[in-house]
Amino acid sequence: MEQAFFFYFAFVIAAASVLVVAVRNPIYSALALLIMFFHVAGLYVTLHAEFLAAVQIIVYAGAILVLYLFVVMLLNLRQDDRYHRQWPMAGAVGVTLVIEAIILTAMKGRTTPVVTSGTETTVGGTSNTEAIGDVLYSTYLFPFEVASLILLVAMIGAILLAKKDIGEHEA
């Protein structure tokens, strides 16, 4: 049963990500990415990361993807351009990487899960959200504050970049 769920999610994730790259129309591309995000959230649930699954749907599917769709529709794109002019080179690099990945995974075989001892917080015991909050607000408090700073900088940068020049109207 667990295996069936994993293979379903894995297959849809892989197929949707190929569609994102291969489809001609950017809107279809974004919708394929939406399907992929939902299935990644499902995969998180099977991995007992329920809080992250919810965050994945709210932030990725709800906020980031809507922003993409908004820009795609705002720009009103032509559909005729598809691949880069350097696509033979890109294809060669891609094929090399794929072969390397296949060789690496085939050589490694199965890994057995290693249980480390003496980790700070276990996933079991308390609920997932509680465990994340515990670690996030104690061990990772400083990175958490830095993350808020990153969001502030991104907000200011986006407003500055996207607004029209003020001096343009006056001149």
Binding site: E2, F6, A10, A14, S17, V20, V21, P26, S29, L43, L47, A49, V55, V59, I64, L67, Y68, V71, V72, L75, L77, D81, Y83, H84, R85, Q86, M89, A90, V93, G94, L97, A101, T105, K108, R110, T111, T112, P113, V114, V115, T116, T119, E120, T121, T122, V123, A131, I132, D134, L136, A147, I150, L151, A154, G157, A158, I159, L161, A162, K164
Partner: protein, 100 residues
């Protein structure tokens, strides 16, 4: 229980798809979408390892990756809009400001 290598393989496939998308496509928006694919591939890895090593720190890192992804999208799309306003194209073959 599903072996950890399955998750790593899935993550590798998605990441490679993202790399190929960045190298192959000419539309800047699709290139940004491919970057999102790569970020998601790393997130799958983080969560899988977090589950197998019974350490919640991996999930916290997914949280930070999410923050960076949101910031990247906001700034990236603002750049695209500014670029489209200046050049009225988002085809990277026609944006040759930095090429010789």
């Amino acid at each position: 229980m599903i072996p950890l290598s399955y998750y790593v393989t899935l993550s590798g496939i998605v990441f490679l798809t993202g790399v190929v998308g960045v190298l192959l496509r000419r539309n800047i928006i699709i290139i940004l979408l491919s970057v999102e694919l790569m970020l998601n591939a790393t997130n799958i890895n983080f969560v899988a390892f977090s589950q197998y090593f019974h350490d919640v720190a991996g999930q916290v890192f997914v949280f930070f990756a999410l923050t960076v992804a949101a910031a990247e999208v906001a700034v990236g799309l603002a750049i695209i809009i500014a670029l489209y306003r200046a050049k009225s194209t988002i085809n990277i073959d026609e944006l040759q400001l930095l090429k010789w």
